[in-house]
Amino acid sequence: MKNLLVIEGLGVRFRLRDATVHAVSDLDLTVRPGELLAVVGESGCGKSVLAHALLGLLPANALVTGRALLHPARPAAPGPSTQRRTLPRWSSVLPRPAGDRAESRRGSSGWSSRLSRRLRDSAEHQPEGTGAGGGGVGSGGAVDLLACGEKVLARSVRGRRIGLIPQSPATALTVVRTGRRLLAETLTAHGRDPGLAAQVAIEAGLDPADLERYPFELSGGMAQRLATALALATDPPLLIADEPTSGLDRPLVDHTLDLLRRRCDAGAAVLLITHDLAAAERVADTVAVMYASRIVEHRPAADLFRSPAHPYTQALLNALPDRDFTPLPGHPPMLTALPPGCAFAARCPRVSETCATRPSGPVACHHPLVEVPA
């Protein structure tokens, strides 16, 4: 099947006063419709920056290079979800959602507005294609997410073509609106019946009665499920789930993961960013292991968990409480001073002289534990 998202040579650097942080380096990934790709790695390896780069949510000191082509979703998948995806034309004459006006008063720059933009954009309603006349639009309606600019991202990508389940919903929800109001706003803006709010909430595992509460009255787990409901309400062909299960207890974790799995089975693609290896093992089709800003191993989930090829993957799996429960020795390299060769060499038991040169391939290692054909 054709790729939905093709990321080529993605690099993200942050300029600090006295150093440059290499958060993502030379990253290549593809996601197909119906695929659940899990990006896993230690905290601080650049996983979340990847998600934010795709949605143009990085702070102003970020320097982004490379390409990320988002192809149009194929309208072939049968079922009610496809009907919803093709919006009626009249949706463009709907009034702007109230949330939009409230946010714009706060100004257009700064941290708080960037966070709130996540939500506001999920309520954007301009039909696809309008305003997509910039240099970022490639052939066949594909959009280069890194080059198309804020206008295109805001009007036709965020919320519409890419849904985001944010990492910390507490900071991403508009506190002065109840859950029902937030959901209804999003549904209306996308030409759907706002009365579906309760149904969408139930699907995300949230009790409809809790929709009457304001975000600050919700527990962390409930806020997480509300944010999930908001991302799912627009039924986007690509979902980016940034730690969607943090703060949830085990049954709710499983519920959320199964929900993402069902979205995939219905034809959507999911980019699951998580530190939870058990979660990745449960639902992912493919897993990309990230270490010190690079992907070191990208393979089908079953193979990777059965026989990890990269020493780092093996060490990470061995840190699990139901395996060895031992932390990796040493520290990951500082992202301000990445070594020219393999970044894991300093902690690796299989290190040799060749590791001073950078390895490449689906398993970025000169001495993999198992041979993996390219």
Partner: protein, 228 residues
């Protein structure tokens, strides 16, 4: 030598969360605490740390009944019970560097100031924070790095009891194992009593000496913990 909650009932604005719950954490042992969402695990931690006043029942530390008076807790008690929270970001002052964060409890008590820098360096080394991270502020480090700083802060006064409220839920496998190993090493050294609140059965069975389950509050009959 133990930290004990005796028949504690507690709640928020009339909503009862804990109903006559008793729990003992003895020195040197690791107790796991599990229970469904909303069963009052965090409330129990807050009661034990004297951050929440129970409606009934009380907390005793090494046989002495302790309580806060209008949120004020004697230094001798405060320095003996430490808490590690789930979200390090919510638990740290964004204006402080990690070094100042770790030094905060040491500076907060009326004790000699010399030696604080050395103690901070020692604690940072113990949790695996490199020197370059110590000059950064919370927004410039990852959750895992910040939680390690919070662990160093919690251990600053060599507490007798450490309460971990879902402290590793947000961490990757390696950082989780590191946090657990640092706490276990401290325990071997000082006889620290540890309470580990977690949803993860694999983690609890690996880490805790015994596991206690809190029943959900909606079942009106009991919410007392039952040993498993």
């Amino acid at each position: 030598m133990s930290l004990v909650a005796e028949s504690v009932s507690a709640g928020y604005r009339g909503r009862r969360v804990l109903n006559g719950v008793s729990l003992t954490v003895a020195a040197g042992e690791t107790v796991g605490l599990r229970g469904p969402s909303g069963s009052g695990k965090s409330t129990l931690v807050r009661v034990l740390a004297l951050l929440h006043t129970p409606d009934a029942g009380h907390v005793s530390l090494d046989g002495v009944r302790i309580e806060g008076v209008r949120h004020r807790v004697p230094v001798s008690v405060r320095t003996r019970i430490a808490v590690l929270f789930q979200s390090p970001r919510a638990a740290s002052d964004p204006r402080l560097t990690l070094a100042d964060l770790i030094a905060e409890p040491l500076r907060a008590v009326r004790r000699p100031r010399e030696g604080i820098a050395a103690r901070v360096a020692e604690l940072a080394d113990r949790v695996g924070l490199t020197a370059d991270l110590l000059t950064r502020r919370p927004h410039a480090v990852s959750d895992g790095q910040l939680q390690r700083a919070c662990l160093a802060r919690a251990l600053a006064h060599r507490p007798a009891y450490l309460l971990c409220d879902e402290a590793t839920t947000m961490l990757d496998a390696s950082t989780q194992a590191l946090v657990a190993s640092v706490i276990t090493a401290e325990q071997r050294e000082t006889g620290l009593g540890v309470l580990v609140v977690s949803h993860d059965p694999a983690l609890l069975s690996r880490w805790a000496d015994r596991v206690v389950t809190v029943a959900p509050p909606r079942r009106s009959d009991i919410s007392a913990p039952q040993p498993t």
